[in-house]
């Protein structure tokens, strides 16, 4: 695009050309990537008890995860692990509607714990993710919150705008690194 042909809208967007390019690339990336990224369209964690990052003074007897759609009991996995990545003994998940609960066998000692889940939405997509909580005075949970569908990490609790920005940055990186590679090979 030649500079004199720059449209009004672009001028309104302003900024140097690399920002324009970045925005175009981000938009293209979103268009291409969205249908293949099910995290927005399908089941996701709506609420959890204990809540992500909760610092509890008393050990919870159970973990209940509530999703935004019905769960299939056959395809619901919820596990709790301690800071040493050892599985905490717990019941199989009891599913009721959109909620799955595991009862923890025995009392949790002080420390950091990770809740991880793998569930399947009604249309068959696998949703998995994890978050941490602590009991007592332990340090903050070591495992960062995250949700993924097929290994693509997506912030659960951040808004669409933030996700968009993240994607834009990724897209920008890909765009420029692609150009650099092209130039290099020319």
């Amino acid at each position: 695009m030649r500079p004199e042909a720059t449209s009004r809208r672009n001028r309104w967007l302003g900024g140097p050309r690399w920002i324009q390019r970045l925005l175009v690339a981000a938009a293209a990336f979103l268009v291409v990537a969205l249908p293949g990224v099910p995290a927005w369209a399908h089941a996701q964690l709506a609420s959890a008890v204990p809540a992500p990052d909760a610092a509890l003074s008393t050990a919870p007897a159970a973990v209940t995860l509530t999703f935004n759609e019905q769960l299939n009991p056959e395809f619901t996995t919820i596990v709790v692990s301690d800071a040493g990545r050892q599985r905490v003994p717990a019941s199989a998940p009891a599913v009721s509607g959109a909620a799955g609960t595991v009862r923890i066998e025995g009392a949790l000692g002080e420390g950091a714990y990770t809740v991880a889940y793998r569930v399947v939405s009604t249309d068959g997509h696998t949703i998995q993710g994890s978050y941490g909580f602590t009991v007592g005075d332990a340090a903050r949970p070591p495992v960062a919150a995250g949700e993924s569908s097929g290994g693509l990490p997506v912030g659960v609790l951040i808004g669409i705008g933030a996700v968009g920005l993240g994607l834009a940055m990724v897209a920008g990186y890909l765009y420029f690194s692609g150009r650099r590679r092209q130039r290099g090979s020319a």
């Binding site: 293949g36 990224v37 099910p38 056959e74 395809f75 996995t77 596990v79 709790v80 692990s81 990545r85 599985r87 990770t114 991880a116 889940y117 793998r118 399947v120 249309d123 068959g124 997509h125 696998t126 998995q128 993710g129 994890s130 495992v143 995250g146 569908s149 097929g150 290994g151 693509l152």
Partner: protein, 391 residues
């Protein structure tokens, strides 16, 4: 006896094929008998390759599956009896023995189609009804009903099964035609299922093939010496289960690669278990990812189907089917799932039961046909398949 049959290829087979061609007299119409020209020299080895028909065990089980197959099931009339069944099996054995070595069957009206057997095998299975007709106790029983079943009568049951396999579809068609003609006086065709795998030469023979859903299918199958303890009874008999599994491809299309991998428990590209990196890595069901989730999802097909006891494994020998799409463009595709095992009740049923109870892959596969057959021992030259049962 080794599990792989001796393959006659090259000169010996070419000689047989050419001789069969030259010696044939087709059924003539009036004027001059139409003789079949000898196959021109230098037939590609694929066409002339022969799998020995005779032996203590039937062919068409332990060999690498050829590219094309027809499964033909028949229904016996109420009048069927043991003597008649023995006559039928003598006739069909004779046809199969000739056709598999590249010779026309007796009275073959399309003798020109016989000389290129292309690893043709004909495997006979006896359904429970055949034993009852012969006044015998069936060694196989129909499967119990599974909650995932959506069985259609037109793909289910059968008193007699012919499994016809070859690396060439015309060879399969001719063999199917000839055998059906000779079975007609004894039984009615109940269903026919035609399927395919990759063509010969596409892969190295030991390369695991992909199925119509794009998965590497066959990785965990017993191979070589592992086949024996799982498949063959002392007397050379075995059993086959044939299940027509419709693939819900339109729905399968909507999944991401990771979703598909979670359903199976293996990577789509390499076939490696989600707990490993190479196709033939043993799945590790105790391995946890960073968040504590099992690397092999506990609802995945492989996790649920897993069999470790070598005597309880299934030898899966599935063929793809891909029929005519409907007006909306939706495919009619899936697997003709065939598995061989010593004992259906001990080996097949527990696996199918586990899969019916829980298997994420069930969201995209539906059993629409089901049949079980005993596969009687093979026969020596001059004998006939079923002689131990019906003789």
């Amino acid at each position: 006896m080794t599990s792989r049959r001796h393959l006659l290829t090259g000169a010996a087979a070419a000689g047989l094929g050419a001789a069969a061609g030259a010696g044939v007299v087709a059924a003539a119409h009036g004027d001059s008998p139409a003789r079949v020209a000898a196959a021109p020299g230098g037939q590609p080895a694929l066409g002339t390759a022969i799998v020995a028909f005779h032996g203590a065990r039937q062919a068409g089980v332990a060999e690498d599956p050829p590219a094309h197959a027809a499964f033909v099931a028949f229904t016996l009339p109420a009048t069927a009896d043991r003597r008649g069944l023995a006559r039928m099996m003598r006739l069909l054995t004779d046809d199969a023995a000739r056709l598999t070595r590249g010779e026309p069957a007796l009275g073959d009206t399309d003798a020109t189609l016989a000389p290129l057997p292309a690893r043709l095998t004909v495997t006979f299975g006896f359904g429970p009804g055949l034993y009852r007709a012969a006044g015998l106790r069936p060694p196989v029983a129909d499967l119990p009903a599974f909650r995932i079943d959506r069985l259609e009568q037109r793909w289910s049951g059968g008193d007699l099964l012919l499994q016809v396999c070859a690396d060439d579809p015309l060879t399969v068609a001719h063999t199917q035609r000839m055998l059906i003609k000779d079975t007609r006086p004894f039984a009615a065709v109940r269903w026919v299922q035609q399927g395919f795998r990759r063509s010969p030469g596409i892969h190295a023979p030991d390369h695991t093939q992909r199925n119509v859903m794009g998965q590497l299918d066959g990785t965990a199958n017993p191979r070589g010496a592992e086949i024996d303890p799982a498949v063959w009874n002392e007397d050379g008999s075995t059993t086959i289960v044939v299940r027509r599994m419709r693939a819900e491809i339109e729905k399968w299309d909507m999944l991401s690669v990771a979703d598909k991998e979670n359903a199976v428990g293996r990577r789509l590209d390499t076939g490696a278990p989600l707990s490993g990196t190479q196709e033939h890595d043993e799945p590790d069901f105790t391995k946890l990812d960073d968040s504590g989730l099992p690397a092999m999802p506990d609802f995945s097909h492989v996790t649920r189907a897993r069999v470790t006891d070598p005597a309880l494994k299934l030898l899966r020998r599935p063929y793809n089917y891909d029929g005519v799409p409907n007006a909306a463009g939706h495919p009619d595709a899936g697997l003709i799932f065939a598995s061989f095992q010593k004992d259906i009740a001990r080996q097949f049923v527990p696996v199918q039961q586990r899969l019916a109870d829980k298997d994420l892959l069930n969201e995209w596969i539906t059993p629409i046909g089901s049949a079980v057959f005993a596969v009687p021992p093979g026969c020596a030259e001059g004998g006939w398949i079923g002689e131990q049962v019906l003789g």
